[in-house]
Symmetry: C2
Subunit: 196 residues, 2 copies
Amino acid sequence: MHPGKSAARPLMRIEVERRHIHRLLNHGPVTMISVAHAGRRNVMAAAWVMPLDFEPPKFAAVVAGDTFTRELLVASRQCVLHAPTTAQVELVYAVGTTTGRDEDKFERHRIATSPARTVMAPLVDDCAAWIECRLIDEPGIDQRHDLFVLEATCAWADDAIFESGRWKFAPGGRRTIHHEAGGRFFATGDMIEVRR
Amino acid sequence: MHPGKSAARPLMRIEVERRHIHRLLNHGPVTMISVAHAGRRNVMAAAWVMPLDFEPPKFAAVVAGDTFTRELLVASRQCVLHAPTTAQVELVYAVGTTTGRDEDKFERHRIATSPARTVMAPLVDDCAAWIECRLIDEPGIDQRHDLFVLEATCAWADDAIFESGRWKFAPGGRRTIHHEAGGRFFATGDMIEVRR
């Protein structure tokens, strides 16, 4: 196993308190969305995802009309939102630029997964955070804006970088990532805390 | 004028091509939203803002029901979305934690502004980007989710840090910012470009 291979590190996944779930995406990182239905599964990249409410924790997500992810999301009414890390930019780009309709992306890209607690969609291993969600009925905006409202059923974070409701990125360590365009990402940068 | 005072630097505001407007917020920075109507004006911080479409460029924004900003947004059907910088975290926090209903925030915080081209809402000086918007009718989601759909009428960026559709943040220079919670922000960090 070559150095940096993520599987060398044991999975450390702590449950996130409901009141802190919105903070997993409050800083606007790019996400991956996984879905599963009737023996099929898929995962795609999605930058247009944001918190929508604190309690119950809700999110808004844009999922384009021609995607296999949308087909499985609408059929299963479930998904998992992931916050991937700097170690996963190639994977995020790969799942964001290919379709899973004709080929299983998990096999093609050798994506390790773990079972979720409340949904059939898989958790992609080695992310910074995972939010299991159910789809909320919000007729019209799906057709007009490809926009979906999701309610978190539970959420998890890697306790090496998120603890007690706060991100704690170490210098040189893995961080969440933000997508500019066309495979160009920014790492989440230095913390700036306002003097109160 | 003390060192670092932003007014020492001339305003460099270039118009952004419509096809690049979504990129101003694609990486998920915190925003400020300015509004104006019938002689009143306001500005607030908003982290829950994201692109919604490429062309015409649209955005989704959460504006809570009890805010003065929402009152002026709904009355005027216009606003400006701003991407503030690392030099403005105190300002973002200040306008995000006070109301402008009883006191003009621009006067209170001595916020320098410039006129917009297509809307009455002012442009807050020294931001990284400005997106002039009109409100799109999307009945229901405003009441159920405090969610508003905005269409960009034009947009501007500071050409020292955004040029030809790309962010170009320099080491040690001003960057856009992302809000975690409670006055804790992250600077937009290092660029990571996927090998293709």
